[in-house]
Assembly symmetry: C2
Homo-oligomer: 489 residues x 2
């Protein structure tokens, strides 16, 4: 084999002596070709991965330009604090005070104002408390003799570190003071370990607190003045966007279920809308962290300091309850067995009505939350929805006659709503299995309407707690009964 290869090489060299590239290729033989291909493959894969990665980054940046702005803000804050210290002639020690200001900026600067404030306050208070406690323990240790000193210090570090660590497991502490507990342990340990005397310690503590104050105030300044991202606003937006997504999802889901022919041009759009409920299902963690941060934020825009952020969590729970139902409804869509067309059409109209009015209720809630203004129409919208549900129930009550009775009885018992339906084509009794997915979908739709009622209640509670602007008295309110009666026809 080796001999053959060698002669092969020779032959190539003799035949094509001018082409260095070809010469190289010939030299490498089969192994070389394999290597070249592998290289192309690896390089190609690498390039495509790098391109994919950059596309992802580009998407994030274009999708949320505020994230890019946040990065610039961090860079600016760090530059300011760095150069500030760099310029100072006093500064000549790496481990000195500059470090604490830089560190504070790096660690404390978060995306939302609430998160930054929460960390700043936690850091400042915890540093102060732990520093004071550490100095106290130091004083006690200093006055206890050289032998007792390390024992006292060791025991105190052990006790306070353990206690503070444990406090981080308590949910209420974890939600608000997790970072503070960590800084407490850190500062207390550092102060305790330090070999300084108390007087020196106090001086050091002053310096340290002042540098932390510089860092935190710079962070707060930059984060609040340039394109601030308020956790409260984000939470507010997230909630009303979720309600909107739920509305779209419900609407698209029911339309998809009852549509006659697949209009493929809209299909992608509809599928995307249907998936909206998934966002609602997955937003629990985001809601909770935003609500935690929002509590730290001062008055901004339409939100006061004591804004009932916790109510947003309750609203989120109500939204998710509705989303669970839509998820289940969504799985009905895929079921293969379909109800007979006449029943489908009759119930379909009613179902579409229910989903249409439910969507209207949800959209009204979106406007209420967006404008932070009580809606004058919401009661009417809910009544409309409830009426549509009632109509659906009535249509359902008249269903068994279609399902089981022969044609003659069916036509007699056919209610006026069903007149538009085709005449039942076969006298054979359609088994209930055929209508099972439909009946389930209808039942789920009714449940969804009930759960939307829960969302309405949660929004109304929010409106009263947050003191939304009262609704303007509208003149066309007198028309409402007429509207309802037209629905009855």
């Amino acid at each position: 084999m080796a001999k053959e290869e060698a002669s092969g090489k020779l032959e190539w060299r003799i035949n094509v002596p001018d082409g260095t590239w070809k010469n190289l290729e010939a030299e490498s033989g089969i192994v070389g070709k394999f290597w070249l291909r592998l290289k192309c493959l690896i390089l190609g894969g690498l390039i495509s991965r790098v391109v994919g990665f950059w596309e992802k980054i580009w998407k994030i940046g274009v999708g949320e330009p505020r994230k890019v702005i946040h990065c610039i803000k961090v860079g600016v804050a760090l530059c300011i604090v760095s150069l500030f210290y760099y310029m100072r002639p006093l500064y000549d020690d790496f481990g000195g005070n500059a470090m604490w200001a830089v560190m504070t900026v790096v660690v404390v600067f978060e995306y939302t104002v609430g998160a930054t404030l929460s960390k700043c306050i936690n850091r400042a208070v915890a540093t102060f408390l732990a520093g004071a406690l550490g100095v106290g323990i130091h004083w006690v240790a200093d006055h206890s003799g050289n032998e007792m000193r390390p024992i006292i210090l060791g025991i105190s570090v052990f006790l306070f570190a353990s206690a503070a660590t444990f406090s981080r497991f308590i949910p209420s502490v974890k939600a608000r003071f997790d970072y503070g507990a960590m800084i407490f342990i850190l500062t207390f340990s550092l102060v305790s370990v330090s070999g300084f005397r108390v007087v020196e310690l106090i001086e050091l503590a002053q310096q340290r607190l002042s540098t932390i104050a510089i860092g935190t105030s710079l962070c707060i300044f930059v984060t609040m003045l340039f394109c601030p991202v308020w956790a409260g606003c984000e939470l507010h937006r997230l909630i009303h966007q979720n309600i909107e997504k739920l509305a779209d999802s419900l609407d698209a889901c029911v339309v998809e279920y009852f549509k006659d022919s697949g209009n493929l041009s809209d299909q992608e759009d509809i599928n995307k809308k249907i998936q909206g409920y998934k966002c609602v299902l997955n937003s629990k963690a985001t809601e909770e962290s935003l609500s935690n941060f929002a509590r730290w934020e001062p008055t901004h825009g339409q939100f006061n300091f004591g804004h009932p952020w916790k109510q947003y969590l309750k609203l989120g729970v109500a939204l998710r309850k509705c989303a669970y139902c839509i998820e289940t409804l969504n799985s009905c869509i895929g079921s293969e067995i379909q109800a007979p067309p006449c029943i489908r059409e009759n119930l379909g109209d009613k179902c579409l009505k229910v989903s249409c009015y439910s969507t209207k209720v949800l959209k009204e809630l979106v406007i209420t939350i967006k404008k932070m203004k009580k809606s004058s129409k919401i009661d009417f919208r809910v009544a409309e929805m409830n009426f549509a549900v009632k109509e659906l129930r009535d249509a359902l009550k008249s269903l068994p006659s279609h399902v089981i009775a022969p044609l003659s009885i069916a036509t007699i018992e056919q209610p006026p709503e069903a007149k538009t339906g085709e005449p039942i084509s076969n006298a054979n009794v359609p088994p209930i299995m055929k209508v099972l997915p439909l009946v389930t979908a209808v039942s789920l739709l009714i449940e969804i309407a009930a759960r939307i009622g829960g969302i309405v209640d949660a929004v109304e509670e929010l409106a009263s707690l947050a003191e939304f602007e009262p609704a303007k008295e509208q003149k066309p309110k007198q028309n409402q009964p007429t509207n309802v009666s037209t629905l009855k026809v």
Copy 2:
């Protein structure tokens, strides 16, 4: 008024000159009484709050003793690192190296081994990279003249800090290298800001890396040797506990729906079991963080380094899909309209069968995951479940005749399964609305069984990816067909 009060005081003083307590009470008057009551109220409230807080802490401690052990571990690690440095005669500077070791221990020590390892590796690698880059930039700046120096340093800090901050928004980076990105920014800024020359910097970097190495290795040592809490084990346990909760919840839900008389002694237990699905709904965030940490863990117990932790997330998704359905089913239980007893009983038996066999499938999966051993029975269990579903469908198919036809037709068409049912007492046609919740529940139950199939698939994928032990060939396998046929009777 003031005069009257003064005279009142005087009178009291004269009448009761011996009692200082009474004297005080008299002096304070109505305002004082109010104050006393307020004090009692506040103190009482405070005491009850403190007691409540301690009870909560006690519960956490007793419920998970490993959390207490973790706190002790943190305390021990800090004591070791503190006293180690405290004892060293070399050590006489607060801002010196000791600080970095203490800080590393405080910041890096986490509850699970995976989280600690992830932070350790992130910290070490990020410090090294940023340090090297910082020294490089420093070198360039030193060779660019005094005027260009701050500009180059400023621009580099800005660029790298912004880029690293942006990388924290990329989900895949955030999941694994969030802490590393922060440490990168911190170290790079510190090195850039420092006024040292490159030679000094390298010496400093060495010291710094060695102290970080001491801190991290101490953390890893303590966290892995004394009662280690492995994120992988936790995830594994969480998943099989969730499957078990789902099984109990489903079972309790169906039993609750079809039970005849409220057995109040078990009621609390059943209600608690029903709520089990809520844990499954809320465990997404925990699963994701545990899976992220588990990937960092070395081989431990039954888990190898490359264990397919991502598959656990897929399994979690399948579990939640099932839980959504159970949540919807749960709301059927509360519905006031109940189906006629004969239908209830007939369908009830079948439903209980389905839930019983579904539960068995889930419990078998629990055993499979717990023992990490493929089950020989699972196919049989799934077949049982599917058969029960088929029976339920059959029972449902014969339902319309009960629902709508008069007694005579009903008895003719009554299928053999329905023989046990009571004769229909009233010839009146029960409207479909009465059976609607029941039919919906049945439909949901069928959907739940289908989704349990999804869970089975996910577990089987996990079993093949994680190379679970193959099932032992069991002798009673030959009996299986007989079992199935007995079910048919």
